[in-house]
């Protein structure tokens, strides 16, 4: 007789509860997540491939794409450099105010992008701190690319740092100290010891940062001034077309960003397979503490 294998049922393994839960989550998941993706594709090509191509080829759309790419090309590398510097300072050294700095870096994550946009207005706008000064020097920050870049940098400031810090914290300082004791310079240590160990997490942060920069709407819409063909990024261009009753055009432009989103997710999954993005469980303490700990 070949023995039949029975596994001990765990909590929630009953066939009814299992089916109900899978069914319900799939249903809502399809409505909430999958349907928007499909409707973008359907609407974008609703008036034929020709209309789609025409929207994409339109100078305004092309300029919006240019603006979006240009913003990302500046904001993402700068944020990456910042993320690396912040992670190095916070994880490799103890200094006064370290925890406070961590909190401040995370602030943009919990603040409405509209607040960010409005705040930037009061720094560089005519009513703001430096506005009159900049006006006098004939430097244009708001309603131009620099303003868009700055607002994007605010919104995505934590993205790279928050991927690197937990990982570098967990890795500790031993490797760097060993490299230094063997006579390696600081930069040498960073490039040949630290960076190789965090490269996937870094790339992961960069991918997410890029997706957010290219898709940012609220903050950018405040500081860009919405000048068609001049200061519109792709998301702003979508809004413009949509409110101009050019839904097909809006969806055509949206399909570019939706493709970017799908590519981002694929990259994310690929990087997660290499160990990136797996943040140490928030409550590591939920697991039984290791035996042998002192009282």
């Amino acid at each position: 007789m070949i023995p039949t294998r029975r596994k001990l049922p765990r909590v929630g393994d009953g066939p009814i509860i299992r089916r109900v839960l899978i069914g319900t989550t799939l249903f809502f998941g399809a409505i909430l997540v999958l349907a928007p993706l499909i409707v973008i594709a359907v609407e974008a090509f609703g008036q034929g491939v020709k209309a789609y191509a025409a929207t994409i080829a339109h100078p305004d759309t092309r300029h919006a794409i240019f603006m979006t790419v240009a913003t990302a090309l500046i904001a993402v590398p700068v944020n990456t450099a910042f993320g690396l510097a912040a992670a190095w300072a916070i994880t490799k050294f103890d200094f006064w105010g370290r925890r406070a700095l961590l909190v401040v870096i995370e602030i943009p994550f919990s603040i409405s992008p509209i607040v960010a946009g409005v705040a930037y207005l009061f720094v560089y706008g005519l009513q703001g701190l430096f506005g009159p000064m900049l006006e006098a020097a004939d430097i244009k920050i708001l309603f131009a690319l620099p303003g868009i870049v700055l607002a994007s940098m605010f919104v995505t400031a934590p993205f790279v740092a928050r991927e690197l810090i937990p990982l570098m914290q967990a890795q500790g300082r031993d490797l760097e100290e060993a490299a230094t004791s063997l006579g390696a310079s600081g930069w040498r240590t960073f490039f040949s010891v630290t960076l190789p160990n965090v490269k996937w997490a870094l790339l992961y942060g960069v991918v997410l940062c890029n997706a957010r920069v290219m898709g940012e709407f609220g903050a950018v819409s405040v500081v860009s001034g919405n000048i068609r063909g001049q200061t519109n990024t792709l998301p702003l261009h979508i809004e413009l077309l949509y409110h101009d009753y050019q839904a097909a055009g809006a969806f055509a432009a949206a399909s570019i960003l939706a493709t970017l989103a799908v590519v981002t997710i694929i990259a994310k999954v690929a990087l997660e397979r290499r160990g990136a993005g797996r943040r140490p469980a928030l409550a590591a303490a939920t697991n039984e503490p290791k035996a042998g700990n002192r009282p």
Partner: protein
Amino acid sequence: MKRNVLPGLPLSLGITLFYVALIVVLPLAALVVKAASLGPAEYWAIVSSPRAVASYRVTVLSALVATAFNLVFGLALAWVLVRYRFPGRRIIDAIVDLPFALPTAVAGIALTTLFASNGWFGALLAPFGIKVAYTPLGIMVAMCFTSLPFIVRTVQPVLEDLDPALEEAAQSLGGSDSAIFVRVILPLLIPALLAGLSLSFARSLGEFGAIIFIAGNQPMETEITALLAFIRLEEYDYQAAAAIASVLLITAFLMLAATNLLQARALRYTARS
């Protein structure tokens, strides 16, 4: 303080502080200064105007509903992804992040099209007299979408790392499935749920892009606070914009503080004596 062997503190910390000061602190300080320049009476008049109060109500209520939905749905989704094996699980796991990756404006027009009265879902709901687009319901749908991943992604790793022996121990002590879920599993998920909950709620309060398309934006009814700040700007009423934006800012900070407190309380059992 321990002396450090490693080089690079002045440079890395210098860059970090400069960047944080310029990009994060300076603008927020400018906003606070602007709002503070109003004077208490004037500030109060702006932030307590009926239109502003109506915007808080619709924003907070919608955010509460959306967060409550995501609490249940996010927990269920995390559970399904961790505990069950079924075809398509990995794909579902991946597309949970779509709301993070999809620009909010794109999500906004897509949801509006789906839920407009002639849209795929809107048309299904219309016969029952349910209107979603251009009503507070639409705001909730948009908030549900944009904050969906938070609870899933905070609960999932904790659920994955949950020691199976804890459940076995509870079973060997005679616990029924529901007792084990309520008394053992759920309490261990609470810190993660709280973290996800506050992120989700904060995101809903501040969301702009996805909502303005679907909301209808009627003052006193479907106008969210972020939009009101934006409208004041377009009207060149900078002081009112600053005041209303400062309300959003303060709320965000209070949320952060409350979350940290709650989490510390929920995790008090990890404190060593």
